[in-house]
């Protein structure tokens, strides 16, 4: 097969380039999941604890949204799946999508694909090599998860099913990214498409599981859970993700045959020969650079908000149907609907923080790409350039959070016929803005003082996400929880409003930004 000539060499190139990155991804995903498995095993060791867990979460729509249908509760294996499986799918999916785009479209845009294709390398070799390596990474995650789960005493068959579901979902996401990489000319656009698909899979499954509507079968993430690890495994379901993954790869390969190197399916049209009035300063440039991504994230989070808002009503139904659950929430003193929305708000705030970091870390990539140099060669002070990106990050993330809250509130207001919900739920998401700004401050400080370490802020977000999503379940000590700015945010509407912690977060963010700008003024520009 001549179109595959050189695949072996390309595999070696990918492995060589990512000899650090690949093991880090695999080990990070496994460590994230296995640490949670270990905590679950120690927390729910006795049958009594497992029963009370099952009562608390089994029919709780908040928990179902985040954890899945909960097949097989209260067995220990089912609790493990409930706590870690969705998180694992998201992590494995992100790993697969980002790695595939990195080795396909990103290489192509950088012009390196052209160099390689001019050699004795087939048209499909690059894509197949990237997919082979990513498949290997997923298999490594699966093998380590299997070994770890069995070592911790979980049943072998169930552990195998859980590992297989992780691998299968990772492969689907690799296929999705392979297609996305053919569609857009821009690696950022390709990763954006793939991550949007991941989000869609999550939302379809979450709404389907909460509403028990069968919508989950429209989502590969739903298929992965439908395999039912530790609960009378349905191995036949595995066919679905494998067929879809193979189909996506075949589609991507066919698309490669139909397009030019460097081109996407959407071809570039001529643009303006002169700049508009808006594009006349660093702020105008920053807005221009981020506006497409802002529109995408804003639309995505508005839809996610609408999705959560529209299931809020069925939460009430579920509670009235289940006296145990009603008693549980009556005892905790908050309404179930409100705690559902509080969790949804924190979840959407984490996603909004992803947008904020994407914008803020752009400062570093502009510098390393050499695009900062010609700008600073003009009469633009460094601080004004950096402040432009930071301002877009701060305002943009606030807009994104506001729209997520608006979606949540609008959907719930329409369903409950209560217009007051719009403002109340918009506030529930918007209240996280200071926490997100704090993360922007972390980027600013790193960029000014430790520019090479800017990427570490994604690890900071991952830790925050871990603490928000699993901190309570794992009963982590308070000081650990306090590390996350999200922890200091009042969880509206379940908790009472208090401005004190928010003002403190704003102050921390301001100090971090100021430190970053001072550092930027004093340091050398690096290329």
């Amino acid at each position: 097969m001549t179109t595959l000539t050189g695949t072996g060499a390309m595999v070696r190139l990918v492995l060589r380039r990512d000899r650090i990155r690949l093991p880090v991804w695999v080990l990070a995903v496994v460590a994230l999941l296995m640490s949670s498995v270990a905590s679950v095993l120690s927390l729910y060791a006795s049958p009594a604890e497992r029963r009370s867990y099952a009562v608390a979460v089994g029919d709780n729509p908040v928990a179902v949204m985040m954890g899945g249908p909960g097949a097989g509760l209260p067995s220990i294996g089912a609790i493990v799946v409930f706590e870690i499986a969705v998180l694992g799918y998201v992590a494995a999916g992100l790993m697969s999508a980002l790695l595939v785009v990195r080795h396909t479209r990103a290489e192509e845009e950088a012009g390196r694909t052209e160099l390689l294709r001019a050699g004795v390398v087939g048209r499909h070799a690059g894509l197949v090599a990237a997919l082979a390596v990513v498949a290997g990474a997923n298999l490594a995650v699966g093998a380590l998860m299997l070994a770890g789960s069995v070592a911790l005493g979980l049943p072998v068959v169930g552990a195998l099913a859980l590992a297989a579901s992780l691998v299968a979902f990772g492969l689907v996401m690799a296929g999705v990214a392979a297609v996305a990489a053919q569609v857009t000319e821009h690696p950022r656009g390709a990763s954006g498409l793939a991550v949007a698909a991941l989000g869609l899979f999550f939302v379809l499954r979450a709404t389907g599981d909460v509403a028990e509507s069968g919508l989950s079968w429209a989502s590969p993430m739903g298929w992965a859970l439908a395999l039912r690890p530790f609960a009378e495994e349905r191995w036949a379901v595995l066919v679905l993700p494998l067929v879809l993954g193979a189909g996506l790869v075949a589609a991507a390969l066919a698309l490669v045959d139909r397009r030019d190197v460097g081109a996407g399916l959407v071809s570039a049209r001529p643009g303006r020969p002169t700049a508009s009035r808006w594009l006349s300063g660093p702020l105008g440039l920053a807005v221009r650079q981020h506006r497409a991504s802002l529109a995408g994230w804003a639309a995505g989070l508005l839809l996610l908000g609408l999705a959560y808002g529209s299931v809020g009503d069925s939460v009430e139904q579920l509670v009235s149907d289940n006296p145990d659950l009603a008693a549980f929430f009556a005892a905790s003193g908050t309404s179930l609907v409100d705690s559902f929305f509080a969790v949804a708000a924190s979840f959407m705030a984490l996603i909004g923080a992803g947008f904020a970091l994407q914008v803020a870390t752009r400062m570093r990539s502009e510098e390393t790409a050499g695009r900062l140099e010609p700008l600073l060669g003009t009469a633009v002070p460094r601080w004004r350039w950096a402040a432009s990106h930071l301002l877009v990050a701060v305002l943009g993330s606030t807009i994104v959070l506001g729209l997520a809250g608006l979606g949540l509130g609008l959907a719930h207001a329409v369903l409950t016929d209560d217009p007051a919900q719009v403002g109340r739920l918009t506030a529930a998401v918007l209240v996280y803005a200071p926490a997100v700004w704090t993360l922007i401050g972390v980027v600013a400080a790193l960029f000014g003082l430790l520019p090479r370490a800017v990427g570490a802020v994604w690890a900071v977000l991952a830790v925050c996400a871990f603490l928000v999503l699993l901190g309570e379940t794992l009963r982590l000590p308070d000081w650990t929880m306090d590390l996350s700015p999200f922890q200091h945010t009042p969880q509206l509407p379940a908790e009472a409003w208090s401005p004190g912690p928010l003002l403190m977060l704003v102050a921390v963010a301001a100090v971090l930004v100021a430190a970053g700008l001072v550092g930027l003024r004093r340091r050398d520009l690096t290329a």
């Binding site: 821009h186 001529p270 002169t274 700049a275 594009l279 300063g281 060669g377």
Partner: protein
């Protein structure tokens, strides 16, 4: 034409040192450029040309030495100085989703304004389509975007870092015309390059740097006396005694034909000597900077006569690497 604020010196750099970790990128570099001068800044790759320009732009902070730009401090007065200069990088990277026209306008506005008449004129001369996205430009076209943005400004100082590295010969001619026009308008130009013909036809003075240090600086005629002329002569009678003359190198005799190089200082003596044998034909190749350049960065041909060149302060024999 244009009148610029009178400055004592456009660029004045002395003893500049810049280290990156254990690498000494600049090692006591000196550079003096008078207002209105077109100054060639020559050196091989990695000799510190771009680092010098980045220090002059206030993008890097010098470790030692002093640098003055248009009577200002390039680090502290960066923004004020940048209003008066235009910079064209050697390796131009642009925002992929902006068109060339948008980038040109943006960079011009960031400097404080752009002369649209001049911009359109330059676009036409450089044959650049401003409606294309930067993503689809070739290296040469990206270079043109940066050149048009720089040249369309009314800056009194142009800092050009290997500005023609991606241009075809036709466009290089356009570029040279533009630089000569800039000179007529009284602008100062720092032109870093390793294309010697370009520097030779444009520059009033030249500085040659190597390993972060200035090895030679002066006008072209000052530098030319350090160079040699190549002569090829056909004579009636076989030439003898030429190898006894001072300053003659690489002598090759082939019947009635003689080829040799001669130091420009000894040219007169050599030609007088030759005329005694009845010159039938004589071709001479003028001294080029090319040769001067080669001799600074390693040319085994001229090594044997190095000791008898005491008037050549720029040569650092110990630095020379064998070719």
């Amino acid at each position: 034409m244009c009148t610029f604020e009178a400055v004592a010196s456009a660029i004045s750099v002395s003893g500049l040192v810049k280290t990156f970790g254990s690498t000494r990128a600049l090692d006591g570099l000196d550079l003096e450029i008078a207002p209105g001068e077109v100054h060639g800044f020559l050196g091989p790759n990695g000799s510190g040309k771009s680092t010098t320009i980045r220090v002059l732009l206030g993008l890097l902070r010098a470790d030692e030495g002093s640098a003055r730009l248009l009577d200002g401090d390039p680090w502290h007065d960066a923004v004020a100085l940048h209003r008066r200069l235009a910079y064209v990088p050697g390796d131009v990277s642009l925002w992929p989703n902006l068109t060339g026209g948008e980038v040109i306008d943006l960079l011009g506005r960031l400097r404080g304004g752009i002369d649209t008449q001049r911009r359109d004129d330059l676009l036409k001369r450089f044959d650049l389509d401003p409606a294309k996205k930067a993503r689809s430009y070739s290296k040469g076209n990206r270079q043109k975007v940066a050149l048009v943005a720089g040249l369309a400004s009314d800056a009194e100082l142009l800092l050009l870092d290997e500005p023609t590295s991606g241009l075809d010969p036709l466009m290089e001619v356009v570029f040279q015309d533009c630089i000569l026009e800039a000179k007529d308008e009284g602008r100062t130009v720092l032109l870093s390059s390793h294309i010697l013909a370009e520097v030779e036809s444009l520059c009033d003075r030249v500085s040659i740097i190597r390993l972060g240090r200035t090895v030679q600086s002066g006008t072209l005629s000052e530098l030319r006396h350090l160079t040699r002329t190549s002569l090829a002569v056909e004579t009636v009678r076989p030439v003898t005694g030429l190898d006894q003359l001072p300053g003659v190198h690489d002598l090759a005799t082939d019947g009635g034909r003689v080829r040799f190089d001669v130091d420009t200082a000894s040219l007169d003596t050599a030609v007088r000597h030759l005329s005694g044998f009845g010159i039938r034909a004589l071709t001479s190749n003028p001294p080029t900077l090319e040769e001067l350049f080669l001799r600074h960065y390693g040319d085994e041909v001229e090594q044997p006569d190095q000791p008898d060149q005491p008037d050549n302060p720029g040569r650092h024999r110990s630095d020379r690497q064998p070719v």
